[in-house]
Amino acid sequence: MSSKTKDKKMTGNSGFDPTRRSFLAAMATAAGVTLAPGVVLYGISRSSSANAAVSSEVRWGMLIDLGRCDNGCDDCVSACAKENGLRGFGRPETDAQWIRKVDIKNPETGYSKSLPVMCQHCENPPCVDVCPTGASFKRADGIVLVNKHTCIGCRYCMMACPYKARSFVHETLEDQKPHAPRGKGTVESCTLCVHRIDSDRQPACVEACSDTGGGAMLFGDLNDPESEISKRVANYASQQIRADLGLNPGVRYRNL
């Protein structure tokens, strides 16, 4: 290094440079302005369960007491349709149904019953096993969902589901609910009203059943021994649909 350049450098280091100081101040301000809203929002978000990480310590489930479920009542079905923006096109074979009332009758004894059937949110869901892209997935808290961004519409999950719980969107949709996005050409099913659960509310069907129906549906954490649902399944006999398949559904029935 020549002595000339060395001198120049020395001068630069020891001298006061107002441009540099104001530049640093501006940078600090800019960084603060940029980061602050994020920090504030992060703080707000942490205070709400909507953005809390989903934990496998919880397993959401439902107990449906058919002793309280009236044959003619379909309040759960209409509440689901309203909540999730499901509208029929007058084509029953292709219109989506997330929850339906199924009438069963024992041909030998004549015993008959009507019960709501929806995605059973299995512990070992066949729809998740068969999905080629992983769009069908089970959340850590046991809710089985479809990722609408990666579903290619192959419908293999519909072939695999033993409960006929899934629908393929056969038409162009309009006026969707922001909390329940749907898409033509993809598969969908009951989300257990995941948007409500994430803000500490009950699924719409459960709420409707308790408000205007028979109060047959009980929603809660099957992993928490202190929850009402855990106490009920511990004290009374409950059934799963097609329990023989070993899928361990999260939806249980009483008096089936």
Partner: protein
């Protein structure tokens, strides 16, 4: 045995271009059908929330199954060491790739979101047999292309046996995968069985060979090349064995189900009172696609005349479509059994046999896949040396020649 000379189709014949144009029109119609279905949504098809896989799947599965079977002719020469089949090997590989491409294009264009094909190529769930099949299909094309290359490139001929063995194993695994798409469906009574894999392999042998025979004879008759009765007779007898194998596995499939009381209802549906499905099973699959072609290829009176072999091949293909239709559509039409022993009804078609009527766009899309496979073969034999110049008896079978001169 004389050295085999292969050549491209020569000249500029009008029928060649006419055929290519017709196939291209079918492909364009299929694209229009696919666009219509995707644009309007699948409600314009015959498919519903009950019958989720319709006519396009019938075409796609037939073509994919036939693709792996079409490769058998090459395998018999390379893997099982039968020199008479050697001249037939190149066309076998080309046809296998062409049928697979045709089938896959139908499958992809019937997706709810075919625009997301890239998702299927980049995002995998390895527990899914569907995801495995994506690898098996793409890998099959690569392996068979390599197999063709080592057959056609003189310097690489030494690797033919290795490539042929790899392709043969790959095709067995591939068809196992295709069958297991159904075999792994635990909740569907018509499927849920390990026999689906060997049944599909048997179907592939039969359908693939039938398609091969027709394409081979069409190519030779169409281009004015000679093909003798030695080749057709051998292929005909082989087809007979494969037809018998399909009937055997079909019988075992239904007998095993009939033995279990819980499957009584679904068997009754397919075999006895399933309407169109029962008709297609007995008349389409068993009689037209099984017993009649079996009689045609083995009847002593004609000793495998090529007219009989051609007719048998056509019937095997028709019966094959009937079989895949009964399997795919019939299996879904039978209701899921949510509550065993109960009578079930709902607004969502629980407990009832679902209706399905294929729509024109679905059939158009399926035929487009067939046309694409045809066009690939047609262009392939036009530009590359897939076909031997002659398959006359004297050219491929020294014993035939000796027998003639000795008599």
């Amino acid at each position: 045995m004389k050295p085999i000379t292969y050549s491209e189709l020569k000249g500029n014949s009008k029928p060649f271009y006419a055929l290519a144009a017709i196939l291209a029109v079918f492909i364009l119609i299929a694209l229009a059908c696919a666009y219509y279905m995707e644009h309007s949504g699948h409600h314009v098809t015959g498919m519903t929330n009950q019958i989720v896989w319709g006519m396009p799947h019938v075409f796609a599965i037939f073509l994919i199954v036939a693709a792996s079977g079409a490769l058998n002719v090459a395998s018999i020469s390379t893997v099982f060491g039968k020199p008479v089949y050697k001249p037939l090997g190149r066309l076998s590989g080309l046809l296998a790739i062409a049928l697979l491409v045709g089938g896959l294009i139908v499958l992809v264009l019937d997706l709810g979101r075919p625009d997301r094909l890239i998702v299927a190529m980049t995002s995998y769930n390895f527990k899914s047999i569907f995801a495995w099949n994506i690898f098996l299909y793409v890998g099959f094309m690569v392996v068979v292309a390599a197999y063709l290359w080592v057959q056609m490139e003189r310097r690489m001929n030494g690797y033919t046996k290795t490539a042929g063995m790899l392709a043969f194993i790959w095709r067995l695994v591939l068809t196992t995968g295709t069958g297991s798409i159904f075999g792994f469906l635990v909740a569907r009574e018509a499927y849920d069985s390990a026999i689906m894999a060997p049944l599909f392999i048997a179907m592939s042998f039969s359908f693939g060979l039938a398609v091969y025979i027709l394409i081979l004879l069409a190519a030779y008759h169409g281009s004015g090349r000679e093909i003798g009765s030695v080749v057709t007779r051998k292929l005909g007898r082989l087809l007979g064995i494969f037809i018998g194998t399909v009937l055997f596995f079909t019988a075992i499939q239904h007998l095993a189900n009939l033995y279990a009381a819980e499957h009584g209802a679904v068997e009754r549906f397919i075999l006895l009172d399933g309407g169109i499905y029962t008709l297609l099973f007995w008349v389409g699959q068993v009689v037209v696609g099984g017993l009649i072609p079996l009689f045609l290829v083995f009847r002593p009176a004609t000793k495998g005349a090529s007219r009989d072999i051609i007719l048998a091949s056509i019937l095997v293909i028709l019966g094959g479509f009937a079989q895949v239709y009964v399997l795919v559509i019939g299996g879904q039409a039978f209701p899921l059994n949510l509550f065993p022993g109960m009578e079930v009804s709902s607004s969502f078609h629980d407990g009832v046999v679902s209706a399905y009527a294929p729509s024109l766009p679905e059939i158009g899309l399926g035929l487009g896949g067939v046309a694409l496979a045809g066009l690939i073969v047609l262009l392939g034999i036009k530009v590359l040396r897939f076909l031997p110049v002659s398959l006359a008896d004297a050219d491929i079978d020294p014993h035939h020649q000796a027998a003639n001169s000795g008599s």
